[in-house]
Symmetry: C2
Subunit: 338 residues, 2 copies
């Protein structure tokens, strides 16, 4: 219905004010492992309450709320998983992403939303010491552990997109490597790819663990420190810049991109994975609203538009940039050519 | 798109985990009075930042997020109010409901969502002393002050619905009167209506203030105490039971309804205003999800279905019950006849 035709309603206001209740409920549902219990075939309140060790009354109210939020189905009083819940929220699924809450709901991120008035006044985070971009912030170990599950698919899609499975020699630099999955997927696809992962030492422990588990440790080395300070070396065919630029303002990004440009071999490419907002800055909803997370948790970060990213790359010597969707993920990639 | 046809997506999970950010943002927008500033004609980031004393960068990110959430429009970089935001969130509007956050986001309500796992296990609130239903809980003064704006419309609609504007003598009991608006609107519509308002003494101060402002004080008296203990008197034509039964379990409700039945004159009516869930308990979204608020904040409260309410009234001697919508509000009324 168009805004003009329908009756005025306080519903959006009421739902938005109470939205924190959704966060609290999905967190509890994951902790109680309700999705796994339903996936195992428990479809009644009685069976679910017994399996998850809760009261029946509490389980009934929880499951009904999860139906309202579209995480569950309810037919004749029996609960079922939606396609997405079966894939992403049943702990037995390989694509389980429930542990992303360890990062997404970590105090470092949530604290930034305690006082949005102050953040809007200031124009950046009011968390002390620059919020999430403080050196060696332990929140990035949580990211590396918790978000790996959400990044597994984009990592596979990017490796495939790059068309490097032909066994050519390939030197890859993974900046702010985190869990390391982006570089590791390339190493898995191309047996002659060598990956250098750069991050804080505590975070690199997670990347090395993952490289070990993937069986690519011999072609996996690390550079410890800040991406702004460490010497990258040179001759890279591919530089991975995933979930990184959004933490900084454009001039800081450009400082980094100059270093990246210098480290690339002729014909080298940068792969930037980002929450890219459309030029209107209000769509698509998830990437565009990512700006608010950056306002709350960083001094000057943002969800950049493609034209803003393009400008940063052009200002630092790159020849041209392509924007690509990465469905079904919420993110997009920019490929920038030296 | 049907759930079967579209690609799997982690979007719902991501949005739900981050939903608390919506709460934080609407709260900040109201505190900064952004809606009023736009209503006054400030439509650019520069003008809004100046008026609300914020950074331009923070205001831009805030306003874009409010567009994403559908509170604002954005056309050619200029922001505007939606119909609902103009009516409900511009402080100059008579229907302004922004101060409802004083109650909706009071610690007493929000604390109940700190540990939903524990509430689901227990089957009721884990807030000490029975949560919001503790005697003389000061949260009800916040309700009376903050929620009056949201209850003004249902109060008018109910008074009109009751068809009592003909000047007949009318004795009205308003149980858990809070701001008093439900009784006051009846007194405004019928000059021979006498209203008795029952609530905790601290809450009745708000009701008396509102009765005074409405010019009906002479026909407005009060009964201090708990609705479960106080002697109501008798001979009432109408008993108002607004936003009350959902706090208690059915047997507690029935204990109260017996008292209510005894207090009514022959042919008397009870008006119950409630978040009434459909029989499936998962629709309509707002009333059905109200169960979760009751789980988090009361020992045994619920968003009852019509058949559950009907059973309580039938068990306590009422002859028949009618369910009525109260558009455009989110609530419904049940009229029960002695």
């Amino acid at each position: 219905m168009s805004d003009q035709l329908r009756q005025p309603s306080p519903e959006l206001f009421f739902e938005t004010v109470n939205a924190y209740q959704r966060t609290a409920t999905i967190k509890a549902a994951l902790e109680l492992d309700v999705f796994t219990a339903i996936g195992e075939g428990r479809r009644t309140i009685q069976a679910l309450a017994a399996r998850c060790e809760t009261s029946e009354r509490g389980m009934r109210i929880l499951c009904d709320y999860l139906v309202i939020l579209s995480f569950l189905t309810k037919v004749n009083g029996q609960y079922g998983l939606t396609q997405d819940s079966a894939l992403f929220l049943d702990r037995r699924s390989e694509a389980y992403i429930g542990n992303a809450t360890e990062f997404l709901l970590s105090p470092m991120i949530m604290d930034g939303f305690e006082d949005i008035v102050a953040a809007v006044r200031k124009g950046g985070t009011v968390i002390p010491e620059d919020g999430t971009v403080a050196p060696e912030n332990p929140v990035w170990v949580k990211f590396a552990r918790g978000m790996a599950s959400m990044m597994a698919l984009p990592a596979k899609l990017i490796a495939k997109f790059l068309d490097i499975g032909d066994g050519r020699n390939l030197k890859v630099l993974d900046i702010a490597a985190s869990h390391g999955l982006f570089g590791i997927e390339i190493a898995l696809l191309n047996p002659n790819a060598e990956v250098v992962a750069l991050d804080w030492p505590n975070v690199l422990e997670v990347a090395k663990e993952n490289a070990q588990n993937a069986g690519v440790s011999e072609r996996y080395s690390t550079l410890e420190g800040s991406a702004f300070d460490v010497n990258y070396g040179n001759g890279y065919d591919i530089v991975l810049l995933t979930n990184f630029l959004h933490h900084f303002d454009p001039s800081t990004c450009e400082g980094l991109l100059k270093k990246v440009h210098a480290s690339l071999a002729a014909g080298g490419r940068v792969v930037t994975l980002e929450m890219v907002a459309n030029e209107d800055r209000v769509s698509p909803p998830i990437p565009a609203s990512f700006s608010m997370i950056m306002l709350a948790s960083t001094p000057r970060g943002d969800a950049y538009t493609f034209s803003e990213l393009q400008r940063m790359f052009e200002n630092t010597g790159f020849l041209h940039n392509e924007l690509h969707q990465l469905p079904p993920t919420m993110q997009r990639i920019v490929i920038s050519h030296k």
